[in-house]
Symmetry: C2
Subunit: 315 residues, 2 copies
């Protein structure tokens, strides 16, 4: 009989282990060609507008395969409903039998995305950080700080958002979790004061300009996961000493790299996959003066790894 | 909170209604172009051998969409496990939210397949039937009789299988359900005595020859759902007065029609979709002398309809 796990149990399990090592292993396996990730399944609805994505795959010679279904219906909040929903399914690669259903409502996607941000910072951010900048005062803007804290110490977060109200809510929340938070409506202020910047907005226009970015800065761009979304000026990627992507193949179709290559700002020969950066020390930040950019569009191997890890920590 | 339904509840709900009308409506909507069925998602494993299919879709302007995951791992029985597993997921087309998880272990696929066989016979089989022939003494060979009984009366079933033991088990089972059953190891005997023949084997070579088929016979071919599987001699389709398919597009890639067209036995201009046969009386059997063939490869709209129907009949 398959096990069915609800969000409260999943959250409890997540509190009992550090997902970063398994996420790192996943990226390494992916960059070594050991992960099978078939094309994403998709349904697009118009009235009301919504999209559904089915992501699935497996690590070769592993025991499991994972199927994730995630939806975004952007009129839902008008009816008091969350815009996103999601579940993950864990199956045996040896028998095909369904092992567990994770009714995670999108939370595991948020966690694996935040964990990937922390992994990128672990290998690319400068060693000493005073301030971390966050663009986007939503759920992911909160979780990125939570997970970044696992890999770097920092004194203060400088958070940019589009409204005083959401910024104030963010500050209250995060101070309750032990962070010192400064808020701003001016993205340049984030760039001027932060050694690490994480962008996690649904923007379709650049929010950061290249001439704002100081030497030594690391930027992780998390928000753009389609061909439309964009948070960084392509000139930032041109100026960067290292441009890292979670998936070379996905960067051909979506994310900051897609935009920058199309704009002629960078060539694809400059790109390195995160899994290789994790595995090879020479591909990581080499000095405190380098500018580094990690463009994360989200890969099914993260879903596989977070799902397996949670399963291991559930009754 | 999504509802989770287990097999016992699903079976109970199935006992409380007749799925045929909803399956018919589904085929009609499909043939009218009102159903969106994206390409099937697939993972193929080699050691041990197994395949996983993700079928999904929705009827336009309906309230729901459905995602089905079904697997076949053919070494499982050696370990005392069922070779197939499956679940269906029902979501709202208006919010994207997951409504219900059906942990149906493949049973709903069996039901919707058997119901489709009954629908094909309802519109294509001769009015009076004495004997029904079944090729394949497995689960589907049992269920086809159960559902056929909803649309036609008949005196006896003549069942072909590959071993005495499975045939004896079949006979015992089905006599317990009120059928009169004759078993045979000779497929010609089935053809010689039956006005309706249902084939439901995983065969990859023709089991029935064209010169065995008598005028007035209706054949529903259920077993072949890939480009490899085949149960009927292509000459049977050439000899038939009507060749009906559940899906014109799927028949380009799989099933008896795929084999017969590739062999040059029939042209695609002869094909008619089941949904049109249901909707238009002139496309149904016109006399007791016609030979008719229905080639069913299984369409996602059946999954959508059975899932919705079961949901309606659950608490």
């Amino acid at each position: 009989m398959p096990a069915v796990f609800y969000l409260a149990e999943i959250e409890k399990a997540l509190g009992s282990f550090d997902p970063l090592p398994l996420i790192e292993e996943g990226f390494v396996a992916y960059s070594r060609g050991q992960v099978v990730v078939p094309p994403v399944g998709e349904m697009i609805f118009e009235d009301p507008p919504g999209d559904v994505h089915i992501k699935y795959g497996y690590i070769k010679s592993d025991d499991w395969y994972v199927i994730k279904i995630a939806s975004g219906f952007y009129d839902n909040p008008k009816a008091g409903l969350p815009s996103g929903d999601g579940l993950m399914l864990l199956f045996s690669q040896k028998t095909g039998l369904l092992d567990s259903v994770f009714l995670e409502r999108g939370h595991l996607t948020n966690v694996r995305t935040a964990a990937a941000g922390a992994v990128a910072a672990k290998y690319l951010a400068p060693g000493k950080i005073r301030r971390v900048g966050v663009l986007g005062a939503g759920v992911q803007g909160r979780m990125q700080l939570d997970y970044l804290r696992k890999v770097r110490e920092f004194e203060e977060a400088v958070v940019w958002g589009t409204g005083e109200e959401e910024l104030e809510a963010y500050r209250r929340d995060m101070e309750g979790r032990g962070f010192t938070v400064r808020t701003t409506l001016d993205a340049e202020e984030v760039a001027a004061s932060s050694a690490v910047i994480v962008t996690c907005t649904p923007s379709t226009r650049p929010l950061l300009r290249a001439d704002w970015i100081r030497p030594g800065t690391h930027i992780t761009a998390v928000g753009s996961d389609t061909s439309e979304k964009q948070e960084l000026d392509p000139a930032i990627l041109a100026k960067a000493d290292r441009v890292v992507v979670d998936s070379l193949s996905q960067s051909e179709l979506r994310g900051e790299v897609f935009k920058a290559v199309r704009a002629g700002a960078i060539g694809r020969e400059r790109l390195v996959e995160l899994g290789r950066v994790i595995a090879e020390e020479r591909l990581r930040r080499a000095s405190d003066e380098e500018i580094t950019v990690a463009d994360l569009t989200g890969v099914a191997v993260q879903d596989i790894q977070i799902c397996k890890a949670v399963r291991l920590h559930l009754p």
